[in-house]
């Protein structure tokens, strides 16, 4: 959570998904205080959006490696 909001574009789907699930667990455990809860929730929403974007808009690419020279 130290990098909340920063470097969002650098986060991978996997990292975002893990953080999102950790936030949900934290919220569900009821241990967070209310002020933190709001921040966590906002971060969670952001991560969810990020994951969806990565899943939906990320257009797959197929590139060709330059043909290997036969020995």
């Amino acid at each position: 959570m130290s990098d909340t909001g920063s470097e969002s574009s650098e986060v991978t789907f996997e990292e975002a998904q893990k953080e999102l699930e950790r936030i949900v667990q934290q919220l569900e455990s009821g241990q967070a205080d209310l002020d933190d809860a709001i921040k966590l929730w906002e971060r969670g929403e952001e991560l969810h959006r990020l994951c969806l974007e990565k899943l939906d808009s990320a257009q797959g690419t197929i590139e060709a490696l330059k043909p290997a020279e036969p020995a």
Partner: protein, 359 residues
């Protein structure tokens, strides 16, 4: 054979011709032997007296120029082609005019299926003993890029690509096409594998080849390729279609897949499953703050109830009174004396009073 040398002071000096003749004579005393290798650079022309080719050691590429009189070669009716494995019976010979060593072939036998199988089995035992078939590294769940190493046989490539992009549309795939059949296949596959590994962000490599005959699939049991897979920096999935004989790449790879869709399952996550899980997590996320507030409220209500229970107000309402004297609560008769002014607080309201008598 006598080889003459010129004497320059205390130094004996041979002419090139004499040197070659001497070495040739010495070589001619070596016995005839069988040599195994792959035929490359086969050159045969009707107007030449000899047929030439280079015998190549498939394991390290060592070369041995070989020649055979054309008449003998033709009489064998081998119809040899480049890349074929052969056993050559012959003896070393120096081509004196050029000082080149070569093998003079007396007979050539094609390396048969049985030989291939036996050689394969020996190679398998050897590589197994080296521990090359024990690599089972975990595959990444979310590869940044998938390397696909495949032949230019369109079907295998298309099938794997379709399987990957259907399962996970955002997949990024780097395709390396190369020879997958014939003598050039193994070195070309090794080179392509290294190039893919060196590629930016490739986290897993699929080696795909549609099914083929035993001979077709021989490059996938080539020692060079098997070693390259075993030492590959990123995990490799072997997706080589085969029926009976397992190519050694299957054993050396970190995972194997018998079909393109199984290969896809191994290397990319299922986008639909991810979306579903994301939806569930989102629902939990949206419910969570409400739950949290409810829990906090419940706890607050509990605290308030306890606070009220402890409050003297509730006690007063039951008919008790608080008596104060000079702002301090009167707890014993000794706290006041006759004529002391006291203030009495009741559940509702209160009154002032004067002490008449103490006990």
């Amino acid at each position: 054979m006598k080889v003459e040398a010129e004497q320059y002071g205390d130094r004996r000096v041979y002419t090139v011709s004499a040197f070659n003749r001497g070495v040739a004579g010495w070589l001619a005393r070596l016995p005839t032997v069988w040599v195994e290798g792959e035929v490359t650079e086969l050159r045969r022309q009707d107007r030449w007296q000899s047929v030439f080719f280079t015998l190549k050691d498939p394991s390290d590429g060592s070369c041995l120029p070989t020649s055979m009189p054309r008449g003998q070669f033709d009489a064998l009716r081998l119809e040899l082609a480049n890349g074929e494995r052969v056993h050559v019976f012959g003896r070393p010979e120096l081509f004196e005019a050029r000082g080149e060593l070569r093998l003079r072939a007396l007979s050539i036998e094609r390396f048969g299926l049985g030989d291939h199988l036996a050689a394969l089995e020996r190679l398998k035992q050897k590589l197994a003993a080296e521990g090359l078939f024990e690599r089972r590294r975990p595959l990444p769940r979310f590869p940044r890029k998938v390397g696909l190493l495949t032949g230019n046989d369109a079907a295998a490539k298309r099938d794997v690509l379709t399987a990957i992009t259907t399962r996970f549309p955002p997949a990024r795939v780097v395709v390396a096409e190369t020879y997958v059949q014939g003598p050039r296949a193994a070195p070309a596959l090794v080179t392509a594998l290294r190039d893919l590994c060196a590629g930016d962000g490739v986290d897993v490599i699929v080696l795909a080849r549609g099914g083929g005959s035993f001979e077709d699939l021989l490059p996938f049991s080539d020692e060079r390729l098997v070693r390259a897979i075993a030492s590959c920096a990123v995990p490799v999935v072997s997706a080589v279609g085969h029926e009976q004989d397992t190519p050694l790449t299957d054993l050396a790879a970190d995972a194997r897949a018998s079909t393109p869709s199984l290969a896809a399952r191994l290397v990319v996550p299922d986008a639909d499953e991810l979306r579903e899980r994301l939806n569930q997590t989102r629902s939990r996320l949206q419910r969570a703050p409400l739950h949290l507030v409810e829990r906090k409220r419940a706890r607050l209500d509990g605290s308030y109830g306890r606070l009220r229970a402890l409050s003297p107000r509730a006690t007063l309402e039951r008919g008790y009174a608080i008596v104060r004297h000079g702002g301090r609560i009167v707890r014993t008769g000794a706290d006041v004396e006759k004529s002391s002014r006291v203030d009495v607080e009741l559940g509702e309201g209160g009154f002032g009073a004067t002490v008449e008598k103490t006990r």
